[in-house]
């Protein structure tokens, strides 16, 4: 019994090490968030016209004379200043997070999606890196047709 238990614990230690190592090697290589966003915007039929050093993407939509702006606001407060400057403009905001799309940041809706995705990731049922930033698109009021686009592609449910 004693030997069996010792063997079991040694096996568990080895399996725990292997599980950690496998998660380490399969860890998502840090993606270029801007490139990913640009790709998603292209899928929506939009074109990124300026992606300078700032955290704001300036986007051109067909049939819309004014540009729209896309940025990311991190849970840690990163990008808050940028977002604040965008929100004072006369645009319609679209908050996107893990499939949620809304005109405001809904903490309960986004938090529950984050919790569900995290729980699924624990059991390896979804991708392990849960985004810790909300994508915000500021749409020009002059182009109401843009609100009907499927903005969830900017931060899809994993």
């Amino acid at each position: 019994m004693k030997l069996l238990l010792r063997g079991l614990f040694v096996c568990m230690l080895v399996v725990a090490l292997m599980a950690q190592a496998s998660r380490l090697s399969s860890r998502d290589v840090e993606r270029d968030d801007k490139a990913r966003l640009t790709e998603a915007l292209t899928r929506l039929g939009l074109q990124v016209s300026a992606a300078d050093g700032s955290a704001i993407l300036t986007v051109v939509a067909p049939g819309c004379p004014e540009p729209l702006f896309v940025t990311a606001a991190g849970f840690d407060g990163e990008g808050d200043g940028t977002l604040r400057t965008l929100l004072v403009t006369d645009g319609v905001p679209r908050y996107v997070y893990l499939g949620y799309v809304g005109s405001s940041a809904a903490p309960v809706a986004m938090g529950s999606r984050w919790a569900a995705a995290s729980a699924l990731a624990v059991f390896g049922l979804r991708q392990t890196s849960i985004p810790s930033e909300v994508i915000v698109a500021i749409l020009p009021k002059a182009c109401p047709h843009l609100t009907h686009l499927d903005w969830s592609v900017l931060s899809p449910w994993p």
Binding site: Q20, L24, D76, D80
Partner: protein, 301 residues
């Protein structure tokens, strides 16, 4: 097993069987040591996974990840490793205890932060039960602090630290106004107009983010001094927390003064100076608490 058969009592077969069974059972101390080892593997596995070295893993990146955890986390695990052999009273582990130990082991196999936190808390609760040894309670205190630190610095509490960031920004404005500087604040952004420089206070830079580490440092230092933290230490702990907050506000205030200051404090030698001050103050107050309690113990004795 053989010796137990030789020791068989002529009148009854039960005592030798009991002895044989006991010899075949895992000692409680060994069971706890295995459990603590599994939790340790899960914890440091998490550290490695979250180290973020773009996939390149080597001994150097592992060492960097260990040091990045901070001196007090490393010290806490060294203490756990040294004391884990003496966390349980003598005797064999019962079947429920073995089952719980195996269940904790299974929890540690899942490579995630949440399960590691759960395992740390469960082991901590088991070791903290009144029947445990003094060493058991000391290890439990360390495991609770490590779990608390993991929770406090996790993504779950980033919104809380984010909220504190706006308060920190206001505090920096107040400090710099006292120094005659003209700064303005918008949310978590502090703008130094005359210097044409601004900083964004992120969750990881806030005064609240460091507090779990201050608590861990307090417990580690108190245990190193040979005793468990007690209620009388609370004023010293509060002093340690206030000092940590004051140091953070001072650091943020100095960073707002200009880009050169920011680079020196955030990315240069100034960061090391800040860490040394923070570590020194975190260790100083528990040392003072331990020093103050010693004469009282002598009087009682």
């Amino acid at each position: 097993m053989t010796s137990a058969i030789h020791l068989k009592h002529p009148s009854s077969s039960h005592p030798p069987l009991c002895r044989s069974e006991r010899a075949n059972r895992l000692a409680l101390g060994e069971l706890y040591a295995w459990t603590v080892a599994l939790v340790g593997v899960a914890f440091w596995g998490n550290v490695m996974r979250n180290a973020g070295y773009n996939g390149a893993t080597s001994l150097i990146t592992f060492a960097q990840a260990v040091f990045a955890q901070g001196a007090f986390i490393v010290a806490a695990w060294i203490m756990v490793a040294i004391w884990s052999g003496a966390v349980a009273p003598g005797g064999a582990a019962s079947r429920p205890q073995v089952t719980v130990g195996l269940a904790i082991g299974l929890l540690c196999i899942i490579p995630s932060r949440q399960t590691t936190i759960a395992a740390l808390l469960v082991v901590g609760v088991i070791l903290a039960i009144p029947q445990g040894t003094r060493r058991g309670r000391q290890v439990a205190a360390l495991l609770f602090c490590i779990a608390a630190e993991m929770i406090w610095t996790s993504v779950y509490l980033l919104p809380l630290h984010h909220a504190v960031a706006t308060l920190d920004a206001r505090a920096v404005q107040a400090v710099l106004s006292l120094a005659g500087q003209n700064v303005s604040v918008h949310g978590n952004v502090v703008i130094n107009g005359p210097a044409q420089f601004s900083i964004e206070v992120l969750a990881f830079c806030t005064s609240s983010y460091q507090l779990a580490s201050v608590g861990l440092a307090f417990v580690v230092t108190t245990l190193y001094c040979g005793r468990l933290p007690r209620l009388a230490d609370l004023p010293w702990f509060v002093a340690a927390v206030f000092t940590s907050v004051a140091l953070t506000e001072l650091r943020l205030s100095l960073m707002v003064l200009g880009e050169a200051n920011y680079v020196w404090i955030h990315d240069g030698d100034g960061g090391t100076v800040y860490i040394l001050f923070a570590m020194g103050s975190a260790a100083l107050f528990p040392l003072l608490a331990a020093h103050r309690s010693r004469p009282m113990l002598q009087n009682v004795g």
